[in-house]
């Protein structure tokens, strides 16, 4: 069964050691092969030298028998000489001599054509009893006779040598592996230390303590990068929380205001004994506040659904000019009533690709806002044009008092009003522009305001466009 340790530290250490063991095994195998080749080379070399020695020690007896003075050893310091296997054959392949070590075995059998004729013939072979050997042969002319001398050494010599070397290496391996494991364990621990510290710190971060950040030990390395990314995320969450807190506070303020009004209007009226007409008036006034509450709750619900991503956009392509004209027509009576002049200019062919209903809502809210804040006799102008190849921009400019620069960033915030003192007289909850902002952004658009205090304000909406990408369709005149 495969055991998977829980701790990453253990796992990494084991992996580390396992890999090293694998590398060592491959290394040992390589060393063995190399050693084997090298040693058989050396053995052949020695056999060749030995063959020369043997040749020097050869003698032919009177009866034609061949002999070797085996008692003489040239390389007495090399004790493997005693392992020498020696065989001499006549030109017909008949065995002329076998040394004592060889006994009645044969080293190489019948000679192959040309064996030992031009220099040494070296090869690995098997003896007649199957023992693997290294074998060198050479032909000599001795006192008129051609003799093939073969000197062989058993490969066991190499194997024994190899076994010894490998044994030493293998005995040393556990020590190496243990050392590596220890060092690896320490090293992984040190590498993972920042993670532990980050986890410890992260554990302490909750909604009350969102200002805490994870420690960044080295912003350049991977863990530092991770901590940095987490910290950036925490900042965004903190910001969202702040926004939510402020929103909740604002919402409760906005809801309490009409509630307080309802309560005092009712209580005050009940304290007096007045006629039916006054009661009617009071109830009517209370109902007005109820309507205001209803409007606020409706808007809040829309926004919270939008926040929760529950509102799906039904995207279609529609001409933007027509939509602005429609919105303006709806508000026409207000525009006339304040004797405002409204102008609309732009390319009729430009289309926006968005949810028409919500974009219409946004345009209505912005236009309504413009009508509200433009003084009587002023002007409102709307302009539709391409912005780049992929966006169409609608800019609505009014000649009102404008918005102070420091407030223009907050104007789309929920419940934000430029002039707090106006809140009472105006029925709006300060959510119209927030809804507009959401509606535009939910359609992959952008919304903003350009304004300088005193010179009016321009609210602009950018939406994905149709008809801006191909300038050829527009006559260049």
């Amino acid at each position: 069964m495969w055991i998977r340790p829980k701790r990453m530290r253990t796992r990494l250490t084991l992996m580390h050691v396992g890999m090293l063991a694998g590398v060592l095994a491959i290394y040992f195998a390589g060393v063995s092969v190399l050693l084997f080749w090298q040693m058989s080379g050396v053995l052949k070399q020695l056999a060749a030298e030995d063959l020369e020695t043997v040749k020097g020690l050869l003698f032919v007896q009177d009866d034609g028998q061949v002999g070797v003075r085996e008692d003489y050893h040239h390389h007495t310091d090399w004790k493997q000489v005693q392992e020498r296997l020696l065989e001499m054959l006549g030109p017909d392949g008949a065995i002329l001599y076998r040394n004592e070590k060889l006994g009645d075995r044969t080293i190489g059998g019948v000679p192959f054509a040309g064996e030992g004729e031009h220099g040494y013939s070296g090869r690995t072979a098997r003896m007649s009893d199957g023992t693997p050997i290294v074998l060198i042969s050479r032909k000599y002319d001795l006192q008129g006779r051609t003799i093939l001398i073969r000197v062989g050494y058993s490969q066991d010599l190499i194997w024994n040598e190899l076994k010894e070397t490998l044994l030493i290496l293998l005995l040393a391996s556990p020590l190496v592996l243990a050392g590596t494991a220890y060092a690896g364990y320490k090293m992984v621990g040190r590498t993972l230390d920042p993670v532990t510290r980050m986890a410890d710190r992260a554990e302490q971060i909750n909604s009350e303590r969102l200002n805490e950040r994870l420690p960044v030990e080295n912003p350049e390395d991977e863990l530092g990068h991770l901590a940095g990314v987490f910290n950036a995320m925490l900042s965004r969450i903190e910001q969202a929380f702040e926004q939510l807190k402020r929103f909740t506070a604002d919402a409760s303020h906005e809801l309490r205001t009409p509630l307080a009004a309802i309560r005092s209007i009712g209580e005050v009226r009940l304290q007096e004994n007045t006629g039916a007409e006054e009661y009617r008036d009071t109830i009517g006034s209370m109902l007005e506040e109820v309507n205001r509450l209803t409007a606020i709750v409706d808007s809040l619900l829309t926004l919270s659904r939008a926040d929760a991503g529950q509102i799906r956009m039904q995207v279609s392509v529609f001409p933007l000019m027509a939509l602005v004209r429609e919105a303006a027509a709806l508000l026409e009576i207000l525009i006339e009533d304040k004797r405002l002049t409204f102008t609309l200019a732009g390319d009729e062919s430009l289309g926006a690709e968005a949810d028409r209903l919500y974009v219409r809502q946004a345009v209505l809210n912005i236009l309504h806002n413009a009508v509200k804040f433009t003084p009587s006799g002023g002007s409102i102008s709307a302009h539709v044009r391409c912005k780049g190849l992929s966006q169409v921009e609608l800019a609505i400019t009014n000649s009102g008092p404008g918005i102070p620069v420091e407030q223009s960033a907050k104007i789309f915030d929920r419940f934000y009003r430029v002039d707090e003192a106006r809140a009472g007289e105006d029925k709006g909850a300060g959510l119209g522009l927030s809804i507009a902002k959401w509606a535009v952004q939910a359609n992959d658009g952008e919304i903003g305001v350009r304004s300088a205090s005193g010179t009016g304000a321009t609210f602009w909406i950018c939406l994905p466009a149709v008809g801006c990408a191909s300038p050829s369709t527009k006559p260049s005149n």
Partner: protein
């Protein structure tokens, strides 16, 4: 005509009953789903008004059970859940109409009347109230024989009020029925108020008897009344 209200909120039920009784309906109230189901399946009603959020048995369950028993009485659902999915679910379960709380009572009454097909609503081309006469086919409106010279929007507005004469009409109803505005958060209240003001200038200002009245906090009503 008999109406059953299934609503656990006592104040709400009482208010609805008072309002409906003023319109000469006979009203029974059930405060729990079980009572409601029992009454609806044993007695005969012309309309059931069903709240969805009920203790123990949910309104939707009651509705399904009633429809399963082949009780085919028209059902008007009242609920504070206002997503499109909720609406579709309610109508699929066999409701005839769906009204989201909080609603204007005038709106509620209009729905009830529509479900009972008891619209005393004037139909036909010729509408009138006191000395006000309207020919919707020729789009001519006169008061005391004098042409009023209304704009198209003012004419539509007056026609709607005239068809609902004597009944209070809320701004939501006007936005939906006259302006055909389906979205709920459109800033139309100001627009409606200004149109009403213009209409009143032409309709009432030259005459002693005022016809178009504002019911504060509720809406507008067209009726003959000397103030």
């Amino acid at each position: 005509m008999r109406i059953l209200i299934v609503e656990d909120e006592e104040k709400m039920a009482k208010a609805l009953r008072t309002g409906l009784e003023a319109d000469e309906f006979s009203v029974s109230i059930a405060h729990t789903g079980e009572d409601g189901f029992f009454l609806a399946s044993t007695e005969t009603y012309d309309l059931v008004i069903l709240d969805l959020m009920l203790p123990n048995r949910d309104g939707m369950e009651i509705l399904a059970a009633l429809r399963q028993k082949n009780v085919s009485v028209p059902v008007l659902i009242l609920t504070s859940r206002d997503t499109v999915e909720d609406r579709v679910k309610g109508l699929d379960a066999g409701a005839d109409d769906y009204l989201v709380k909080p609603f204007a009572f005038s709106e509620f009454l209009a729905r009830v009347r529509a479900l009972l097909r008891r619209g005393k609503q004037e139909s036909g081309d010729k509408l009138s109230l006191a000395d006000l006469e309207m020919d919707t086919a020729g789009r001519v409106v006169t008061r005391g024989g004098k042409e009023l010279g209304l704009t198209a929007r003012e004419f539509d507005l007056l026609e709607y009020l005239l068809r609902q004469k004597g009944r209070v009409v809320s701004r939501e109803m006007l936005a939906r029925d006259v302006w055909q505005e389906t979205a709920r958060y459109t800033p139309l209240d100001n627009v409606i108020d200004v149109h009403i003001a213009h209409l009143r200038r032409k309709l009432d200002d030259p005459f002693r008897t005022k016809l178009l009245h504002t019911v504060r906090g509720v809406g507008f009503v067209l009726r003959e009344e000397t103030l």
